[in-house]
Symmetry: C2
Subunit: 351 residues, 2 copies
């Protein structure tokens, strides 16, 4: 279960969050276990991987999908039972056998839920060049969720000034950015979230035109009609299920739905059925799923846009940082009940 | 209930199919009634409508949707209880108060389910210029279903040579054409239909690479895996429900779904839920509904393509013609159980 790594003679303690076994139904903290392993911090001769010290780990909704046994080909492989979880994170390189990385580099990309990781698959890792912003941002606004928001909005939705935009899970890592992109473009933006605190955040901090707590609405269709009496041009889909059914009834003709995630469905053994697909025809709706990995090539362009936005305060960003690897399982579980306010990050080490 | 029209002194008998009242559940013949009305064949002074003698009427799946009371704005208005059904048809102009039409012209477009109709809304009517093909073709291959097949395949699916194409309700008015368009483009084409006779038609007459009877398949997912071991690039959706769920599991990455109709759902008071929408994300699927009316401007270009195809025998077309207005209700009901083989037409008069 535990790996063992030595720098010279040194064997380091390596605390890890272990994925116990495949999960069915709602994820529980007890599906994971924090253990003390050990690790050598030096790579074996001839390895072209890297050894890293993990600093921040990212809690992302898709991780639940990796906890189900996947039959057949899939976008994601399942986690390996009795091994550490993996996910996006920010880390410092301690040793490298790969020409693209050297000791001391900061990187973001897929790493382990543990204090130290040996990463043998370095494709998909990015070197962090700009450190005048918080490092944790590379798990969110400057990482996978930020790029998801960017491509899912600009590339998939073809937004135009003045359009009506609705975002579900709007205070999450992706949603809060999509809303601000839409405001910068001159759209009318409404978001849904699951608490009064989040609704306030959307309106006061992120500048949404309006927002509502979906948990307080007994009729989502009626709620959407209240906020969008003329209908929705663009729906940025993060949740699925009943919300999607209600949105379909409220789309405008030629509306666009960018399908980024369906978090309401990830803990269900059978997904809820979506009934109102007839609206796709009547309203000539264009619905498109996307995967951020397909757009990694535009990451440099994305950074060129985002860094000035952040430095100039044009885009705000809220994180919910859990301290210590031990808090990882609870932080991840909390994502699916919406306990987090803003992007959920786990801080492993400040260095 | 009956209209009354006179040519000079003459009052004509006008047999009509009356829509009795809003329908819930599966459409029955008894939801309609054939009556003998009367009609004057001369327009009143100052009218800018036209009077027509109906020759062929078209049975189209969407008509069931007009039999439900529609709340709020919709693509279609509901039929008016106690009035004749309306739908696409081919007719001869007997009198005209409109500059675009004169006595003797042949037209296709929306008319009444009756022997003679007064059409006050002439926008959306097309004058028939080519009569070297059967007139009934203007209810199908050269009418609304033909244009639907054309735009739904070429404009919505962006097909490429060698792609794998699946078509449901494949022997229907639209499906049979989409399959032949796809073959002409060099695609691999499989269709589903509801009887051995239709499956034979697909393979022998329309040149599909393969076809299957969905009613004989207990596991649609397994059936699709058998016919598309490498997956589906393009799905032309005519049915919805369980078939769509199975197709989603079998789409290739970056696949396209053109949503033309969902006939399996039209007689249900609550549509079936579609569960596998997560595939939209993983497989980066592009799903788009369309409405043929949006493409009426390309009808002349469409005719330029289709007429030579028909004359040269490059595209085959099968109709199922019911004789006489009295057979209309049964023909329309039969559409939803798949009783028709090919495009369902009702012949009113050979002139």
């Amino acid at each position: 279960m535990a790996t063992s790594v030595v720098v010279g003679e040194e064997v380091m303690r390596n605390k890890q969050v272990i994925f116990k076994d495949y999960v069915s139904g709602f994820l529980k903290e007890s599906d994971m276990q924090v253990i003390n392993g050990t690790l050598k911090l030096k790579l074996p001769e001839g390895s072209n991987g890297i050894v890293v010290k993990n600093l921040y780990l990212s809690c992302d909704p898709y991780m639940r999908n990796r906890m189900t046994r996947v039959e057949g080909p899939s976008l994601f492989t399942s986690f390996t039972p009795s091994s550490p979880l993996t996910g996006f994170g920010v880390a410092r390189v301690l040793d490298s056998g790969h020409p693209n990385f050297k000791k001391g580099d900061l990187i973001w990309g897929t790493t382990g839920w543990e204090e130290y990781s040996v990463i043998t698959e370095v494709e998909g890792l990015f070197k962090i060049q700009h450190t005048d912003v918080p490092l944790s941002y590379y798990t969110g606004i400057l990482g996978m969720p930020g790029l998801s928001a960017y491509v899912g909005f600009y590339e998939v939705c073809s937004p135009k000034k003045g359009e009506y935009v609705f975002i579900s899970a709007a205070s999450g890592a992706v949603g809060q950015l999509v809303g601000q992109f839409a405001k910068l473009m001159g759209c009318y933006v409404v978001g849904s979230a699951g608490s009064k605190e989040k609704v306030d955040l959307l309106k006061r901090k992120f500048g949404f035109d309006d927002a509502f707590n979906y948990k307080e609405e007994t009729d989502l269709d009626a709620a959407l009609k209240r906020y969008f009496p003329e209908g929705i041009d663009i729906y940025f889909e993060n949740v699925g299920g009943k919300m999607l059914d209600a949105v379909l009834l409220n789309m405008k003709d030629h509306g666009r739905i960018s399908v980024c995630g369906l978090i309401s469905q990830y803990n269900l053994d059978q997904p809820e059925g979506v009934q109102n697909l007839m609206c796709l025809i009547y309203k000539r709706i264009h619905m498109k799923g996307f995967v951020v990995f397909d757009y990694y090539n535009i990451y440099p362009k994305f950074l060129d846009v985002m860094l000035p936005y952040i430095r100039e305060g044009k885009i705000m960003y809220v994180e919910d940082i859990a301290e210590g690897l031990e808090s990882g399982p609870a932080a991840l579980v909390g994502l699916y009940s919406g306990r987090n306010v803003g992007k959920q990050v786990v801080l492993i080490a400040r260095e």
